[in-house]
Symmetry: C2
Subunit: 340 residues, 2 copies
């Protein structure tokens, strides 16, 4: 064994190879409401299994897996939620995030990873049909519904970084609004803001529902269609470009930002929300790994560095571009101002 | 942002959900020989892409992903292998383990995780056809070829723990031999050992190839068929029960160990190789998580604790059962002796 013990530890190889097994276990735990049922007071395998409608053997294995991962604790054969699971994985929590698996681990998203070798060979996803860029793709309705809770902190960050007077009248364009939460939280923070949300018509139904539910429906207006094709109108104080640019190549992004520039009034601000890695492209981890997501999902998208985003914005006419990280979130802001 | 910052960090949720993305990236890196080509001296994106026959954009993203994971280092846009990658992921290394993805991430193995919710509901895999238990399943030929390198350390551990005199004449039964490496390394350590390997006929062709290549072909004999059905013969000094019991329920295991007991001569040893978690079933991590693998792959298998294995062996007649962990490996031995 001397020889084997002198070797590096191959554990990381085993861990990365079996990561898909842990992802599947997480999806199953969400589907069976494992965390929710434990949060409701079921502690033993027998009680949890009954509450989840599952076999005791299956629940024992699943609960042990999440104890290993620190999502649960186990003492005297009783399972409890960790603080993190209680906050984010119990459906009774207002900050429940579990719905994200419905998008992140949807068949549509997983397809890109089944074909990843081909994407690396070609430099971008080769998947056709119902892909990220197709109008009326049901993927974006799923996205809008499943991912909204995960976007709350970033939406709070945007509303908190706009820098206008609270009672100012604001005309806000929300590009590729999806669930609408970015515009909605601006509307909540600025009572005189009017939001104009652009997205495909089927997706905007989700945004409208959310705007009504969150009490800003009367200030939430719709511009259905592709963000590349529709007329935005003009004289906007704010244009929100959230989780959008990463789907496209740099040239397309720069051209698109020209359209944004044209829609702003002098002194207006484009707020870009992006996963922005450092120039080394390998830090911070969450930001850097997002490049893989775009390689798997899009023909030409990427996780752009701030310098790359700045170049796009400068090419579009913005002379002032400020990078605003929002740790611990992997999503950062770029605030680009149209000179007055 | 005060409210958001007071919350627990949801990063572990993102990490477990996106684990399947990293697994896919690993499979792609192995398929394109990313680590091998870097090991051969290709350092820049352009050179690596050319050597791998892939696009520069794709290789940049892939190499950055593995830099984030610590499998590569990156300095001045030049990538290098970590010690671990050089040892285990470069095909030119004698300890290359990358082939394991061909089994661990095969379609046959992944199917169980696609159906995991159903398995938890039912208490075991509901997958039919070409599953772990089917004779002539090509899965086990893939297993034999892909997983042999990963089993070298455990095989060395077995040969080193038998405790016989080196020149002793040994009659060894190698149950579900697969690649044959467990019996083969006993044959290498004990020049007067004769190995009798049991497995399905299609799988044994792999074991025979390996025995010939490793110089013990003249002492490597075949008993083709199911380990449950074939006649083992008798008067064995050693029976190797490696990575076998975890596929079956406890009752089946105990019954099978009775057959092993009957095949041994007095003083003979059954050597069981298993992922053996502690009684708490949630430590150590590698051992504990193996229960998930069996839930996804088998109707009744499990990662058994030492006390459970001891009970099976005692029920089969073995009065002496010794637990031999082999850290840092997740696989342990149980050495069961038939009283003389």
């Amino acid at each position: 064994m001397t020889q084997a013990q002198a070797m590096p530890d191959p554990q990381p190889i085993w861990q990365i190879m079996t990561g898909f097994q842990q992802s599947a276990a997480f999806k199953t735990a969400i589907e069976l409401e494992l965390f929710t049922k434990i949060g409701e007071g079921n502690k033993t395998v027998a009680d949890i299994a009954k509450a989840c409608g599952a076999a005791e053997k299956g629940i024992r294995v699943l609960a042990d897996v999440f104890t290993v991962h620190g999502f649960l604790t186990k003492a005297d054969e009783n399972y409890s939620l960790s603080d993190m699971s209680a906050a984010f994985l119990d459906k009774n929590s207002r900050t429940y995030l579990g719905s994200a698996v419905e998008f992140i681990m949807s068949d549509g998203q997983k397809r890109g990873y089944e074909d990843l070798t081909n994407a690396v060979r070609s430099g971008g996803s080769q998947i056709q049909g119902e892909a990220s860029m197709d109008p009326d793709s049901p993927m974006w309705v799923t996205f809008a519904k499943a991912m909204m809770p995960m976007m709350f902190p970033a939406a709070m960050g945007i509303a908190g970084n706009l820098g206008f007077e609270k009672d100012q009248k604001l005309k806000v364009l929300d590009i590729a609004a999806g669930h609408g939460i970015f515009g909605i939280m601006v509307a909540q923070a600025y009572p005189n803001a009017e939001i104009h949300a652009v997205d495909w018509a089927n997706v905007l139904t989700v945004a409208t529902e959310n705007a009504n539910r969150m009490g800003v429906g009367d200030r939430h207006h719709l511009i259905p269609g592709s963000a590349f094709d529709v007329e935005f109108g003009e004289d906007y104080d704010v244009v929100l470009v959230t989780n959008f640019l990463h789907h496209f190549d740099a040239e397309t992004c720069a051209k698109f930002m020209s359209k944004v520039y044209a829609a702003l009034k002098p002194g207006g601000k484009a707020i870009t929300l992006e996963f922005i890695p450092n120039d080394d492209r390998v830090s911070p981890p969450g930001e850097a790994l997002f490049a893989l997501v775009m390689l798997a999902a899009t023909p030409g998208g990427d996780a752009y560095t701030f310098n790359e985003l700045k170049k796009m914005c400068e090419d579009a006419g913005f002379s002032s571009n400020v990078h605003v990280p929002m740790p611990p979130m992997p999503q950062h802001l770029v605030i680009s101002t149209k000179e007055g």
